[in-house]
Symmetry: C2
Subunit: 159 residues, 2 copies
């Protein structure tokens, strides 16, 4: 497993927007991202998962810090139109990613990555995956600790 | 924007596991993915976002269909130990992805992808992003419709 991971990346230029209580029917995500795209707001992570209510979804997305206020404003303007409950902003987040080549299954890297973070007491606030990457959002104050823990877990700190 | 998207991929060999009411503190994700890794269950998408309760998170992950029953069994066994509320299984899902090179911001591709799906009435059940890909989970019955709509949106259906 350790040979699969080629690097650790992080970004502190992230602000996280949470949309709570999205009606889970077609057209809602279209409206959200059209509004952001038309306003020139750049979006990095998008994470949507279920809620306990089958008709409701919650979504997190991240923008660069300079776009945070604009994104919140745009989402608040959309709230009544789309009928969702709440917009929240968290500017104290950082994105940390483990990069691997050919992660056909993410489970091994997830285990090692989440273990390294858990063992340092770093809370995982959001998770997103792709073939070459697992990204998490954490409290920005833990960035250096998290990156060092991951370098250690994957032997990337050896010279 | 259209030139950025190079392809559309899909997989029907997906079953989605939803974990509701996860205590949002370090060690929970470590426990979940260690249990799955040790059992040899392959995991593809992992999506975690916030819930309205700041101390609770919800998570969706996908496994291959043949691992679905095992994954549910493992998660149910973990429920009391970790203190989360519920495990749900949805085997009628498909993963559809739009692949782009150098998507520095996802917002343009998100807009076009989610518009194409919304305009065909395809509901987006989960979203995950990376630098080269936006993946969604949809009802498997809509797979062909969704893939054709996306090919059309990005001009990938022209011979
Ligand atoms: C919540 C949102 O993703 C909705 N399900 C949609 O398809 O737009
Ligand atoms: C919910 C889960 O991701 C938890 N926050 C953890 O760090 O393990």
């Amino acid at each position: 497993e350790k040979r699969i991971v080629s690097g650790v990346a992080y970004s502190r230029d992230e602000a996280r927007i949470t949309l709570l209580g999205l009606p889970d029917h077609p057209g809602v995500s279209k409206a959200i991202f059209s509004r952001l795209a038309d306003a020139g707001v750049n979006v990095d992570m998008i994470v949507q998962s279920r809620s306990r209510n089958a008709e409701i979804a919650n979504m997190d997305f991240t923008v660069g810090r300079r776009d945070a206020a604009r994104a919140v404003e745009l989402m608040n303007a959309l709230k009544d139109e789309l009928g969702f409950e709440e917009v929240r902003l968290d500017e104290a987040v950082a994105k940390v990613s483990v990069i691997g080549i050919g992660m056909r299954s993410h489970v091994g890297v997830a285990q090692s990555m989440f273990t390294a973070l858990a063992d340092k007491g770093v809370n995982i606030q959001a998770i997103s995956t792709s073939e070459i990457k697992i990204s998490v959002l954490i409290d920005a104050a833990y960035t250096e600790l998290a990156v060092r823990a991951l370098h250690g877990a994957y032997g990337l700190d050896q010279v």
